[in-house]
Each structure stands twice: as structure tokens, then as C-alpha cells.
Amino acid sequence: MATNFSRVLSNTVRPDWTLKVVQPKAEAAASDPALAELDEGQLVAACLAGRREAFDLIVERHRRSVYLLCYRFVGNHEDASDLSQDVFVRAYKGLQRFRGQSSLGTWIYRIGVNVCLNRVSAKRPATEPIDARPHLDQHAVDPAAELLKGERASQVREAISQLPRKQRATVILRVYHELSHEEIAGILGSSVGAVKANFFHALANLKRLLK
């Protein structure tokens, strides 16, 4: 039996191709243990010294928060994905301007807010994307409840999109990203008092729009 099996193996035709499992470049750089131990300032310094792979690690650390920020502004996956890429490319190009006065995350948030505000000012969709509309999931536990939830979410997105730029940014950063007034002031380049006033007016406007 064993002999037969060996014979079968020896008679097997070997393929003329080989299969290699290649790790994506970005992932490979991010898993570099030497880079993984660096803090944000050291990663920035490494980027400026010409080590592009250090930026892959920065992207890995902040991609989720940047994507969520962008999604809150545009309300759909495709635009949020494109904006996230734009935010990181702008961050890379302006990396020499990062002086470490705030955290790298706050600095990237600032770029993200500017990119998103510019985008929503330049391109305001006349209609809501199809995937953003609530749809009835027949397999859900309670389809009616799911539909209601989807409708309420759509109303919230629409109400937030009608806020003035600074109020919209303040609500998104405060409610969804739970940043402090001071952090938001740093990101928006305004005073803490202005942030508090913006938030107050934003809530008043949202109450009016959602009643």
C-alpha cells in the first residue's frame, strides 16, 4: 500500500509554476518590528529621512479614525475611502510642517477636517446615495424596527449636512469622536469659547431640524 502511494507521488506531474504567498508592501512595512517600536515623532523623523515605510505604520495607526471622520462628513463608503486616501497623501506631503506641538493624530485630524469641509463645500450631492437609504432586511429579527432605525439615521445625516461648516465639524468631532473642546479648538484653529458656542448653536439647529 505504502509502495503504491509512493509510486503515485513519484508519477505525479510537477507543475511548471510555483505559488508564492506575498505579503502586501504596506502590511510588510507595518509589521517591521524595528519600526513598530518607534513613537510618532520618531516615525515622522524616519519618514523625513527617506524611509517611506515608516509612513505605512502611521497610516495603519490612524486609518480607522480618519475613515470614520470622513464617513461622518460624506455619509458613504466610496467617498469616505477616497477622502481618507487624500488625507494621508496630504499629510505625507506636508509632513515637514509637523512640529510635534500637538499629537500626530490631532494634526492628521486637522488635515482631515479641512479636506472634508472642502469636499462637502465643493460637492454637495443632490440626492442621497442608494446604499445610504434605509432598506428592509427580510432576515432581520424585526424588519420594521430596522427600517425605522435606518430612516432615523438618514434623518440625522441629513440634519448634520445642513449645519454650517464649523458647526458640522464641531458636532462630528465632539459627538462621534468624543474629543474635548480644547482638542477641537486645536483642530479647527479657533478658541475654546468659539468651539463651545459652535456646539451650542449646532445642537439648537439640530433640535429644530429633527423635531
Binding site: A26, C47, L48, F55, S81, Q96, V156, L206, L210
Partner: protein
């Protein structure tokens, strides 16, 4: 209908969740950024980025002082040359006329110093525009433009000055 409180509103806002993208999306996003960044030149710190506002202000002030100094010296130079030349000419005339009698040096004259200071503030172009510049033939034109009585008075003044210079 009861108005929404701030807490209720924030709770309603937070109930709107972002759909979680596919787990593969994050690697896909990283790869997209990686490829886009690879097409960009490597960012580098510029030498002036490290300068803070104080240093930058000081450098600008120093450059401004140097420029002002240079411009003042350039503006003074023609006036000083002229005044030095006229002083030398006066000395020469006096020496010839007085046969060895020396006049007091103009450098010690306070009124001349005041005039020199005032003259140094006048720009040549401004002076020309104001009609203060002496052009060739201007003295002859002025004399021929005088009346006969004024010409006689001028001759008397000149003769008196010549007499006085000979007596010195």
C-alpha cells in the same frame, strides 16, 4: 410635543452608526495610500522651518537696518563730494587771492555743518524738480534776465567782495 434635551439629542446622534467596512478594506486602504505616497517626492525639512518667530523677526530687522544704512550712505555720497569739492575750490581761490593767507577750515564752521546736514537730506531728483539744481548757463541766464539797475547793484557787490578779499 416635548422638546429634545441635549442628552436625548446626543443619544439620537450617536445611535447613527457607521457601517463597518470589510476587514479587507483596511489593508486595501493602506495599500492605496502606500502606492499614492510612492509617487510623491520624499518630504524634507527646509532650513528655515526651524526658525521661530523671534529669530525670524530679528533677522528681518537686521536686514532692514543694513538696507537703510546702505541707502543713506548712497544718498549722502554725492552731496558730500560736492561740498568737499566746493570747500577745496574755495580754499584754492582764497589761497590764490590772499597770497598765502589761510581761511578758517569749513569743517569747523557750525553753520556750514548745519547746511551740509540739511543738504544731505535733499534728494537730487527732488531738488531738480523743485528748481534748486544749477544747470550750465543758469548764472548767465540769471544775470542777463536782470534789469539794468539790478545788474549795476550786482557789479558793485562783486567789486566790494573782491576788495575785501584783497585786503585779507
Amino acid at each position: 410635543m416635548k422638546p429634545l434635551s441635549d442628552e436625548d439629542l446626543i443619544a439620537r446622534l450617536r445611535a447613527e452608526e457607521v457601517p463597518e467596512p470589510s476587514p479587507l478594506f483596511w489593508e486595501h486602504l493602506s495599500q492605496r495610500v502606500h502606492d499614492a505616497v510612492a509617487a510623491e517626492p520624499i518630504p524634507s525639512r527646509r532650513w528655515f522651518i526651524g526658525l521661530n518667530a523671534v529669530w525670524a523677526g530679528g533677522a528681518v530687522a537686521a536686514i532692514a537696518v543694513v538696507l537703510i544704512g546702505v541707502s543713506l550712505s548712497v544718498r549722502r555720497q554725492p552731496v558730500d563730494t560736492t561740498s568737499a569739492g566746493s570747500a577745496a575750490m574755495t580754499q584754492t581761490v582764497a589761497t590764490d587771492a590772499g597770497a598765502g593767507v589761510s581761511l578758517p577750515a569749513l569743517d569747523d564752521d557750525v553753520s556750514f555743518a548745519v547746511m551740509e546736514e540739511l543738504a544731505s537730506e535733499i534728494d537730487f531728483e527732488e531738488a531738480g524738480a523743485a528748481g534748486l539744481m544749477v544747470s550750465p548757463g543758469a548764472a548767465e541766464d540769471a544775470v542777463t534776465g536782470m534789469s539794468g539797475e539790478d545788474q549795476r547793484a550786482l557789479v558793485e557787490l562783486l567789486q566790494e567782495e573782491i576788495k575785501n578779499s584783497k585786503s585779507l
